[in-house]
Amino acid sequence: MSNDTTDDTFDIPLVDARSVSVRFESQLILHEIDLRIPRGQTLAIIGESGCGKTVLMKTLVGLIRPHSGQVLFDGRDLVTMSPVELTRTRKRFGFVFQNAALFDSMSVFDNVAFPIRQHELADEDEIEARVMKNLAEVGLPAEVAKKRPAELSGGMRKRVGLARALILEPELVVYDEPTTGLDPIMSDVINELILATRRRYPVTSVVVTHDMRTARKVSNRVIMLYPRRRLEAGQSQVLFDGSPSGLDNADDRRVRQFVRGEAGERLSEMTRQKNTLTLSSATAIGCDHG
């Protein structure tokens, strides 16, 4: 897979996935994916539901262990790392979950402070200053700090999740569907926050999304994954790898369909399935009567 769409300065990849395959029981989700993410790049992974984009993202940060292949982070293989090394390396990751994944039993303040406390990196005064600063940076008032996650709206929860992911100023921030379930205005707020983070310090980001507006706005590289079950033998799961501006004129029809939000052959598939079902029901009834 090429990475020629990025600046020349991004020579050494921060993340380098080599021939990564992931299998859940007998189901092969990802097959021999190669992906190099240079430092400072914002990569959007797009694709329809069930294509394996979240699995790929979790594999890149060591949450899912691939059944074959290597995932190098800054040159070190996450797959063969000892648990202690992996824990130390994870200080360099920030993860924004689809539904924020805030700890229900803690206040917003304690949620955001969790990574610093976990790694015992500061005293309580400094923790307070950093938490309040991060909450302000994602546009949340100080009163929110005392609330429980259950008392917040979806957009606020996402912003708290972002504040928590950024508290240790990680080198790699991973966003899982950051705008899913949000109204258009709040989606744009989240997009702007992703851009603001990139402006503030040289972070590398991976954004998993099927919101084309987010992909175009925040990323400087897009890859599109396709579900394996829909591929012919020998075809790559990565249908597109390039700049966001190249999406509309992509050579592959499936990429253009996805970008434009067209059902395409899925409609004929549905009609075919419906006809098959009707035919088998009629045959069954015929047999009963015969």
Binding site: L63, R90, A101
Partner: protein, 289 residues
Amino acid sequence: MAGTTFRDDIDLDAPKPARLKNWISDWGGIVVDGVSTVGDITLFAHRMFVWMFTRLPQRGTMMINFYQVGVLSLPVVALTGTFIGMVLAVQSHHQFHLIGLESRLGVVINTSLVRELGPVLAATMLAGRVGSAMAAVLGTMRVTEQIDALTTMGADPIHYLVVPRFMACIFLIPALTIMADFMGIVGGYFYCVIILGIDHAAYLQNSSDYVSGYDLFTGIFKSIFFGGIIAIVSCYRGFNCEPGAEGVGNAATAAFVMSFVLILSIDLVLNIILDAVYYSIWPSQPSFL
């Protein structure tokens, strides 16, 4: 086999050798699943013990779990203990009355309580109250990706979530068992002496003569194992919860059922061992009859 019973896969129209093959393959699947679950739980427990002896969780995390397991369970365990004592008195009184040995009722009630019924019923009650809650909380955390969030922030979920719960259970379930025993003794005394009018002094004298320190030790010793079983099984079920509300419900139910069966099994094994130890130290003992 998840989601189906082994019978669902059997094609009844298939020729006999094929049906036999299906049966063997399905039973084989059940055995493999069972062995795999035992292996998983063993590895889970091993990781928990490694963390427990390497680095203890922060004090705040421990205290919350101690409070939830110990303090919040106290009323229900005390109530259960009281009723066990009183029910034992009701059940035994008629038989003992027929042979004129009502004054020996305290021996039966208190021995049964401290050796067997106090620990087992307190553990059963706690498997329902504490174990199911643990499985449901951890299952919800799994489903809502909170466990993944812990991992991404460099916190080991077993160290952060399981070790405090395990320690709370092994320290506080024996303490709660002592409370259940005490309240059972009070309940039994109340029913026998106050309601049935059995002589107070004879009741207490017989109890103290025949209920030994070893009986009390047996009950408390077993409850440490019961606490460990409840914590490990419930946390394991929560960690391996299937997605959705049904998944969380199933995890809570499975945690209780599995804990209950294991409590009774371990109880049998420990009773055999502890009895063997007892009779090797004190070979002959007088009967209370």
